[in-house]
């Protein structure tokens, strides 16, 4: 196998080995329930950060209400399970679709708003959803939250052990991130980036900017809904407090710290902002201060984030073999 093909193949295989081989083996060996929880939460937030990266990092729409769709997905999954006995197999996709549908409806009137006003509109929407989750007690059970009595019930097989749950979550998150990766690292992704750079100009080049914005918002919210469902099925308890403004900001901070426009960066940001407070366990109460401080520091000192877009795109094109190879000078440019 030529050297050019070998490295990217190795990188991809390596990632799969770590995620589905090494890490679970390590977790099983250490056998601490709490560690499983941390890893699962990290995976869920990696998906949340990855999906927000599409909206805010790639398409440049500052979104202050992503947690709302996370919450909608979580509640759909939880309520379907507790009220109607509908389990994981159907609940998961329905959660994603439900979140996507609400995102679509919300986006219809607001997509034409200019950046800062769109941001504030998403803030308002996020708050409205949170209010509904908290106060529409007949449906959402209010501040007490919803208890889910069954865990993951995949096509009839009940998976309630920690390692099985891990594999299911890892599989779904990997698949979702793969889809996001394909969207971001493609010519479709370039079209999205043009929205961020200069959307009036993109219009003049034949890009249907309004439709594209709606698409990316809906797709990303779908994945937020999936993440929410995963949260519901793994923690088996949802409450409105998990889906408030602070949560939206946490996810935004992950994307900003990692580097706007960089998918690997968003994932790194998620890992960092979940693990950091865990590592500083003793001072767990100041997690939000850390989030604020990290976000501030990175905007100020590392405006491109930890793994900025340019480096990330180059990395993906070369290391992950996403580049078009028949370029005249055999350099890796463009997308496959």
């Amino acid at each position: 196998m030529s050297r050019e093909l070998l490295m990217p193949r190795l990188s991809k295989v390596a990632m799969l080995i770590v995620l589905f081989g090494l890490l679970p083996a390590l977790l099983a060996w250490l056998d601490k329930g709490y560690l499983y929880q941390v890893v699962t939460v990290t995976l869920i937030f990696a998906l949340l950060a990855g999906s927000l990266h599409l909206i805010t990092g790639v398409a440049g729409l500052l979104h202050l209400g992503h947690a709302a769709f996370y919450g909608i997905g979580a509640y759909i999954a939880a309520l379907l399970g507790s009220d109607y006995g509908i389990g994981f197999t159907i609940g998961l996709p329905l959660a994603g679709l439900g979140a996507a549908l609400i995102a679509f409806i919300v986006a219809l009137p607001t997509m034409r708003l200019v950046s800062i006003y769109f941001a504030v509109a998403t803030l308002g929407i996020g708050q409205m959803v949170h209010l509904v989750l908290q106060n529409w007690v007949e449906v959402t059970k209010g501040p007490n939250g919803v208890l889910l009595f069954s865990g993951i019930d995949l096509f009839g097989f009940t998976i309630d052990d920690a390692i099985g749950t891990y594999f299911v979550v890892a599989a779904i998150v990997s698949l979702s991130i793969w889809v996001i990766h394909r969207l971001s690292h493609s010519y479709y992704g370039n079209a999205l980036r043009s929205l961020r750079e200069d959307d009036q100009c993109a219009d003049a080049i034949g890009i249907n900017t309004t439709r594209l914005k709606m698409e990316v918002f809906t797709i990303a919210s779908f994945f937020a809904g999936i993440a929410g469902a995963l949260w519901a099925y793994t923690t088996q308890y949802v409450s409105p407090a998990d889906f408030d403004f602070a949560e939206s900001i946490l996810i935004l901070a992950m994307v900003v710290v990692g580097g706007l426009g960089s998918l690997p960066g968003a994932i790194i940001g998620a890992v960092l902002l979940i693990l950091l407070p865990e590592v500083l366990r003793g001072v767990g109460d100041i997690r939000n201060i850390i989030v604020g401080g990290v976000m501030f520091a990175s905007i100020l000192f590392l405006p491109k984030g930890l793994f900025g877009e340019v480096s990330a795109l180059n990395f993906v094109r070369r290391q992950l073999d996403s580049a078009w190879r028949d370029a005249p000078q055999k350099r890796k440019v463009g997308w496959k």
Binding site: V179, R182, L183, S186, Y187, Y188, G189, N190, A191, R193, S194, R196, E197, D198, Q200, C201, A202, D203, A204, I205, G206, I207, N208, T209, E215, I219, G261, E309, V310, W324, D326, A327, P328, Q329, R331, V333, G334, W335, K336
Partner: protein, 248 residues
């Protein structure tokens, strides 16, 4: 190919464009000139759909385009550049031009994720063609923001060419260029025209316009005051008066 019929654009009491009628036929190289404030850029914005017309009609290839959104007009084969050079600064040269290609060829979200390489390859090839046409192929991986001013002009043109338009509108392409750069650019535009592209351009640089345009339309205070070959226009007393103090 492009018909402008009695088009006006009013901003309150101000008539930025006042009952202008002209046309651009297939294969022509038409220049649009006029003193500052004559309404040239407004007319461009009307044609490309950035500003709505107050009255009148604009037709392109027989279809009414006044009232259509910019992206719809662009997908009909009309592409434009901008006076103040709007490239996508945080994207590479290649990626910039590829947006033009993907605008024309199209790639949906579903295709981006699941489809094979065929469509992407088409987009890639189209992008390379355009890049080579504007001589930016060896800077394909450079960030657009780092490009020199003159090169950025060609980048914008390359991006517009990637759409494979039938009509290319250039908004003050020579702005900010020195004499030799302007000469290169005018040669380049002539080449494009020679390849069959219909071109309309707005320019302040008289030498360029008079030299390469087949026909010149002159606007002053929103109205058309001349529409003929360069040789005739440069002697037109109304034109000379509008440009009071400016030699041909």
């Amino acid at each position: 190919m492009l018909e402008i019929r009695d088009v006006s654009r009013h901003f309150g009491g101000l008539k930025a464009v006042d009952a202008v009628s002209t046309s651009v036929n297939q294969g022509e190289l038409v220049g649009l000139i006029g003193p500052n404030g004559a309404g040239k850029t407004t007319l461009f914005n009307l044609i490309s759909g950035f500003t709505p017309v107050t009255s009148g009609e604009i037709r392109y290839k027989g279809q009414t385009i006044s009232g259509l959104k910019p992206f719809a007009i662009a997908s009909l084969g009309l592409s434009r550049t901008f006076q103040n050079l709007r490239v996508f600064p945080n994207m590479t040269v290649f990626d910039n031009v590829s947006v033009g290609a993907v605008g024309a060829i199209g790639q949906s979200a579903f295709q981006a994720v699941f489809a094979g390489s065929k469509r992407a390859n088409r987009i890639s090839e189209r992008t390379w063609e355009a890049l080579e046409r504007v001589n930016l192929a060896d800077q394909a991986n450079d960030l657009a923001a780092n490009l020199a001013y003159g090169k950025r002009k060609y980048l914008e043109i390359g991006r517009a060419l990637a759409m494979q338009p039938d009509l290319l509108i250039l908004d003050e392409p020579a702005a900010g260029l020195n004499d030799s750069e302007t000469a290169d650019l005018s040669r380049f535009i002539e080449e494009l025209h020679g390849e069959g592209l219909t071109i309309m351009l707005v320019e302040h640089d008289m030498t360029l316009v008079m030299r390469i345009c087949q026909r010149v339309v002159v606007l002053a205070s929103g109205q058309k005051i001349a529409d003929a070959e360069p040789a005739i226009v440069r002697r037109d007393p109304q034109v000379l008066e509008a440009y009071l103090g400016v030699d041909e």
